[in-house]
């Protein structure tokens, strides 16, 4: 490719550098910027001063300090977070993301990888392939990056030996054979000395390939796919006044023109594009990547998170998936816990129902797993609270990539890629029964509810719940009491007390309670239920006002003094593991409907407090 008078011949190349700690990633970027004359003189001056203070190269310039921009990074001489640098040659513009090598910062590496088209994977010629080399290669492949430069660095420290280079290249090619890269270009480099960076190295005349900058200047990473059908997730409904209703979004695939037949998903309603509204006018066509606003021919129901798609080739709609997941949360992923899932512009509640297997980062082997720790990669089954329009990530990144968000802290805890739908949502319509919850509750002359007692073991939950049920029964209500101990003898006899089992325990009980509420009953649930996330999950199964959380608040010391079943004594002796309050946490509710301060009050008085709440206005 050659440069034309109009400007760069190729569009901007976005690439990352990755690899293990101390393989010289930041140095390589710094050197490349310098050799390509992209470091301004005032920055070079500052760099020379910095190098004397923080540098690791003695009196010489430490190019890593050009990209390690955080104070902590410069003090520790490491890269913590991804840095984006922008530079240009006469051939094209570049955005390079310098990503951290430490395992603990893998999520920052993934952040950089998710928007890159090429990965420069560094290997220290002295050390060869390391675990991080393989981990980063797997993440690069998983993110769908198709082009890799295998940069064997620090060749100067191995006497520029051809055998060392060829050995590493052969090992890498064997390892990467099934990662699905379209191209792997090996390079023999010394970033520190500048060998093969922007000119052929006099020390490695045996190396026949291009130099690094030459290669980056000319590589074409555009995918040559044929015409593909139109898709646009709706970001925002544009309603400046009553006469205009437009749907704003970025075209994720294909092209669109006024008059095109489109389908709204998930609803499936069909209509036509009336106009493509752009700044102070209309367009006759919009293609992939264009941010536009469409108006439609009919008054159809469209909102944020819906997908507008070519009517004759719409994407699938589903609510259960197999997906590949990179876990990034400090707390491990637990199957059964619910998270927020963001897929294109749609946000729904999602649960990982099963971890099918974890991938060994080193060998790729499939390992059995019940939880997934930070930086782990696993294949999982996902269940969503509502159906969504999607495409597999391999077919279309924009409709197949998702993140998981913790529902309490709102941290981004997972990044995933949809592989396929486990079943189509269109097949699972709930039967619209004529005899429904309202009908059943009406016959019982009551409002169905779930009264959820939470509190420490020995706090008095079951006692209070028992007294309450007697009272409600006397009032003529149809009730049922689900008690932790009793359920564990039957329905949940296969579960223990690990965190994963506790989560599943609560999920099953919450589902049973939901069915009973659907049957019209007032259900009393008495479970320790120590984790906020599970109580929130339980609440989400019910309609507003149906779920009444009762916090039986008895101090731990009091519960332990009572110790009605002798469990605290056992736990203290170490005979009982994962005992709430002793070696497993209890997360108190922040805003329960009813907060019973239960240390000094009589159980009957506490039960009356709850019944007064339930019976008011009846």
């Amino acid at each position: 490719m050659i440069s034309t008078a109009q400007g760069p011949a190729l569009p901007t190349l976005r690439f990352i550098t990755c690899g293990s700690v101390d393989d010289g990633k930041s140095t390589l970027i710094g050197r490349l910027l310098h050799e390509a004359r992209c470091v301004p003189e005032d920055q070079l001056l500052a760099l020379a001063q910095d190098s004397r203070k923080h540098g690791t190269q003695g009196e010489a310039i430490d190019f890593a300090l050009l990209v390690d921009g955080l104070l902590a990074e410069r003090e520790q001489g490491i890269t913590i977070d991804v840095a984006y640098r922008y530079f240009a040659t006469p051939q094209r513009n570049f955005v390079v993301a310098d990503t951290p090598g430490h395992e603990q910062y893998t999520r920052n590496m993934a952040t950089g990888a998710s928007t890159a088209q090429l990965a420069l994977i560094l290997v220290d010629a002295r050390k060869g392939l390391l675990v991080q080399t393989r981990r980063h290669s797997r993440i690069v492949a998983m993110m769908g990056i198709r082009h890799v430069v295998l940069a064997v660095n620090k060749m100067d420290l191995m006497g520029f030996d051809q055998g060392v280079f060829e050995n590493i290249v052969a090992q890498y090619q064997a390892f990467a054979a099934d990662l699905g890269f379209a191209s792997v270009q090996p390079m023999a480099l010394s970033a520190l000395q500048g060998d093969n960076m922007v000119a052929s190295s006099p020390h490695m005349s045996w190396f026949q390939g291009p130099n690094l900058l030459q290669y980056l200047n000319q590589i074409d990473v555009q995918e040559k796919a044929g015409q593909r059908p139109f898709r646009m997730p709706v970001q925002w409904v544009n309603r400046p006044h009553a006469d205009f209703r437009g749907f704003s979004g970025t075209v994720a695939q294909g092209e669109v023109r006024p008059g095109d037949a489109v389908r709204v998903l998930p609803s499936g309603v069909q209509t036509r594009v009336q106009s493509i509204v752009v700044w102070q006018g209309e367009a006759t066509q919009a293609g992939q990547g264009d941010a536009v606003t469409l108006t439609l021919a009919d008054e159809v129901d469209v909102g944020r998170g819906d997908v507008l798609a070519a009517a004759d080739a719409p994407p699938e709609v589903a609510d259960q998936f197999e997906a590949r997941l990179l876990w990034m949360g400090d707390q491990p992923l637990v199957a059964g816990r619910s998270y927020l899932l963001k897929l294109h512009t749609r946000e729904v509640v999602a649960t990982v129902t099963e971890i099918k297997y974890q991938e060994d980062i080193d060998t790729g082997a499939h390992l059995a797993a019940r939880s997934l720790s930070m930086n782990g990669i696993a294949m999982v089954n996902l269940s969503l609270s509502q159906p969504v329009a999607f495409e597999p990530y391999a077919v279309n990144h924009a409709l197949g990539a998702f993140i998981l968000i913790d529902r309490l802290a709102f941290e981004t805890v997972g990044a995933g890629m949809l592989v396929f739908a486990l079943r189509r949502a269109s097949n699972i319509h709930w039967q619209a029964l004529e005899v429904n919850k309202a009908a059943r509750a009406g016959r019982l002359h009551q409002t169905p509810r779930c009264i959820w007692f939470t509190g420490l073991s020995g706090s008095g939950k079951s006692n209070i719940a028992n007294l309450l049920e007697k009272r409600l029964y006397a009032e003529g209500l149809a009730t049922y009491l689900l008690d932790g101990d009793n359920v564990r003898h039957g329905l949940n006899r296969d579960l223990g007390f690990t965190e994963a089992d506790r989560v599943e325990n609560i999920r099953r009980v919450a589902e049973v309670a939901r069915l009973m509420v659907d049957a019209g009953l007032v259900v009393l649930v008495s479970f320790i239920s120590p984790f906020k996330a599970e109580r929130r999950m339980a609440r989400s199964l019910f309609q507003d006002g149906e779920f009444v959380e009762v916090f039986v608040d008895t101090p731990l010391a009091e519960c332990e003094a009572r110790d009605p079943k002798g469990l605290y004594a056992k736990a203290r002796r170490g005979e009982l593991k994962n005992f709430t309050g002793i070696d497993s946490p209890y997360e108190p509710p922040q805003a329960p409907e009813i907060h019973l301060r239960a240390r000094d009050a009589a159980p009957q008085a506490l039960a009356d407090e709850v019944s007064a709440f339930l019976l008011q206005g009846r």
């Binding site: 400007g7 569009p11 901007t12 301004p40 003189e41 005032d42 990209v67 921009g69 955080l70 902590a72 410069r74 977070d81 991804v82 984006y84 640098r85 922008y86 240009a88 513009n93 920052n108 993934a110 952040t111 998710s114 995918e223 040559k224 796919a225 015409q227 593909r228 970001q235 925002w236 544009n238 437009g246 704003s248 979004g249 970025t250 695939q253 294909g254 092209e255 509204v277 102070q280 992939q288 990547g289 264009d290 941010a291 606003t293 990034m328 927020l340 963001k342 294109h344 512009t345 990144h397 924009a398 990539a401 998702f402 993140i403 968000i405 802290a409 709102f410 941290e411 981004t412 990044a415």
Partner: protein, 302 residues
Amino acid sequence: MSSPPTSDLRHLENESIEMLREALAGARNPVMLYSIGKDSSVMLHLARKAFYPALPPFPVLHVDTTWKFRDMYALRDRAVAQAGMRLIVYTNQEGLAAGIHPVTHGSLHHTDVMKTQALRQALDKYGYDMVFGGARRDEEKSRAKERVFSLRGAGHRWDPKAQRPELWNLYNTHTRPGESLRVFPLSNWRELDVWKYILQEGIEFVPLYLARLRPVVRRGASWIMRDDERLPLLPGEQPQMRMVRFRSLGCYPFTAAVESTASTLEALIAETQQSRFSEREGRLIDLDQPGSMEKKKQEGYF
């Protein structure tokens, strides 16, 4: 993928519009910070495009130190009115009453009181949870590390060591009470892109960016413009007329001019392309302490 490759500017514009819309969709109470510089001018223009035919559904906030160039104040009111948006001007009244002066109190203290603290006060006063800013990663090394959607904890603090992962275009827009997000739609723009876009779109900008004869004094290695009578002259100092322009605009006593003959936008672009110096070389506040920008940002500065 079959469509011809869009030009780089088109790509940047599309990407920024997507960010603006995504932020709005996740916001309870959004606001756009506006500093009247070239980046703010581009950001304002992009907001008008992103929500057209609606007007951008948020106000514009200018944190005013009262020490901007006069040309900047003139453009501010006109540009915001043209966009059909509401302008909120906020000045730290306590700082003003205490007579915090950029020259006598120094740049570090003045910036802290009149910019950083003022911004925090304004954000607290109006309770904004989503705050657009025109910062670019290309400007400075700590900004190169920042996310597009950048979380601020209690007291508007930035914790650069614990940023949320940010993958693809899937921005996490959730915040807890007391937290807020700063959103940088121009994250991936370079100085040159900004000028090329201003030329392409015909966006109005402060004339100080173009070379003119201006009254300046030499201080150390910097040319400082005497924009009004408030800048005290040192003994023996006499303003002289020089052909100068500014690459970056802040409070005028801290903003050094560069000598230049680029009196048109085309000449300015050619000069930017060939420049061997970085854009913020004239921003003296960047040099007042080691890791200067990162420390200011941790305290809540943009």
